[in-house]
Amino acid sequence: MKKVTRKEFIGTGFLAGCSLLIPKFLKATGSFAGVQGDRKLIVVQLSGGNDGLNTIIPYRNDIYYSNRPVLSYKTNEVLPLSDELGFNPSMKSLRSLFEKGDMCILNNVGYPDPDRSHFRSMDIWQTASGSNEYLNSGWLGRYLDATCNDCSNAHLVLEADDMLSLALKGKQVNGMAVKNPERLWRAVHDPFFEKLSKTSNEGHHHELTDYLYKTALDTQGSVDYLVAKARKATTIADYPDNEFGKNLKMISGLIGSGCETRVYYVSLTGFDTHARQKQVQERLLETLSDGLNALVSDLKQNGHFNNTLIMTFSEFGRRVKENGSAGTDHGAANNLMLLGGSLKKTGFYNAPPDLQNLQSGDVAHTVDFRNVYATVLEKWLQTDPSIIITQKTTPESFI
């Protein structure tokens, strides 16, 4: 059956002047079906395996101190969040958000039979697969498939990068990767492509060629749309002066200028701290913390904070016991941070990691990350998670 586009639908004569009959989803947001209001999701990927135990520190736990003679933070250095847990000293700006109730922290998020390879575990997180399951599409790509069947708006799921991560690749449609909208604009409006896009491709009934021409045209449309929004964007906050800061600033600007993108995806890399962890991780956590703080400040300023959910994750946490070169090796379950103005639960969602009962020296998971995704899909993006996540999920109650 041919899908009816919004334009065709609304253009149909009998609907004119009859707006009460237009289904809610069309009225509310235009081309994207199924999402209530103007909700945004921003996923922040911490690549390399962030050491969760030195991010949110169990500063009253003797096991933590005995396993980390070099890497532990003294009680008086930690920024306390509860009687048991506190932030890394470099995360001052996030602590103020935590205190304001803008944040929820999930401990021990992971999956059964954890894989300690970066690539494999990142695939598991990005595709929402089990550890013995190999999927070629990502959870956000499948979300795009589910809500935007046959639609041409790749930019509804947008990654701030030059290359698209697996997480944003669907079975039918792919999201879009843009780091610098103006640069991509120049590429797609190269004089030759510009002329090509205005040239008829008729007499050419070849499925693959037609598909490529259509993708190229749709991309031009998406890029034009994004550039128009980006040119109108204004941000006030100070973002860290690095790639991550620039990417967050772009996202913040797009949201502020009313861009219809639903899901944004951004990465901060370098967390694979096998050696000299403290200095490397502190610098990264400071960037993360200051960046998110700036983003939240802009979102509050432009009234979008209540419509936005920010979620961080990393492919795994790190070994509880430090190694011989002032670093840590690959581990398993990890904490995950949520920020937003509409969280149902703020502060700590669940109990701290149980360092007495480790699995092969690593923190055991008590929350399955696919249940976290399912919660975000169902309660935030209002999409049935069962069509996106293969395994059966039970939603959590943070939203």
Partner: protein, 456 residues
Amino acid sequence: MSSQKLFHHLCWRSGFGPDPGADYQDYEVEVVRLFADNAPGDLTVPGWTPTSVIDIRAMSLEKRKEYQRTERQARLKLGYLWFTKMAAAPNPFPEKMAFFWSGHFACRVNSAQFGLRYVNALRKNALGNFGDLLRAMIRDAALLQFLNNNQNVKGNPNENFAREFFELFTLGRGNYTEQDVKEAARALTGWGFDREGLFTFRTQLHDSGTKTIFGNSGNYDGDDLVDLVLKRRECAMFISYKICRQFQSDSPDIGLIKNIADALYSSNYNIRTAMETLFRSPQFRSEDCVGSKIKSPVELLAGLFRMFDIKPEKETSLLQLQRALGQVPLNPPNVGGWTSGKGWIDSSTLFFRMRLSQLLLAQGDVILDPKAEFDAQQQTIVNNRKIKTTFDTVKLNQIPVSKDENQLQVLSDFLLQIAPSKSVAALIKSQVTANGGSALLKSAIMLMSLPEYQIC
């Protein structure tokens, strides 16, 4: 279909496009030519002396860094060497076949020494017997390491290798049970490798008890596993499907898959027989088959490199291009290997792919800014690279154009497997005549900037 079109079809599918200087006989002769070369000799990495893999945990930080740097350099060279071999070999078919197997036996190579052995094992067996190839692969250090078989020991089996052996290498999902996986893992216990990357059978770690696989019982080891699996027709079907998806179409013909499976099974898994059957099949030679595949990034890039003898200034430049296109040889995204068909296309990569000929041939620098790797130290090196390449137009000038022929038409027939629409052709014609410069090169660049060039 014209004989030239059919020849170009064969050239693209068996290699990386036609060579203008090639002296084309008839189709049957060309098929025979593909198989004329014996297995290519081993690759060696010049200027690199393989050293045994050392336990880096025992090293000082400085030593470890130095060791890792040398290793990285050697792996880079290996990838560079193999790719340039693919692009430049007079008959690229054996190399392309080996590359296909590197997607089938997908392995992320972490050691140059192991990687070199892995590549050479694939190249040696690429057109030989699939059973021999399987036996080489279950002894291959890079693959054993990648799939954790060194941790697969008696009493505490690691099922990773055994599972992929069935799921990805031989049978495909649904053709074995979980119990078969468990028992196969036991058969592979003690199959390991030494620091030189040589296979070692560690008797004391091998489970020599009775295993039951597909209902047969015995004191099986890895070689028995190969024999058991080859007896199953499902194996021939699975390998045939993979071959057809690579060489015939992104959605291969089911009749052809069956025929090639039969050819494989009845020839005791002779890969050459399977490929001859494929190239001679009516399905492969049909009009529908031409242009039914989206080029993989390696096919796209090697095609351009081959046609214009492109040489990157640095080995890392090639790596950057491959990364930006999304396919780095010896570095598949996961054990499942690379994607295929439309999986290669998303909005940003499509435009990068369409601009590639312009970037490489119109003297423009390619500025790439892909995601940094996990290692913080690499971040600054990787970002914002400028890539410089050289090229020549010798081959382009060899494309035979007789005086009364329409040059653009000839060029288009040579470079594209799917002819552009009349209005697109007219657009190119108007662009070429509107501005000065070498009309031939300009026409070629524009033709290769079309979506049609993404297809073979």
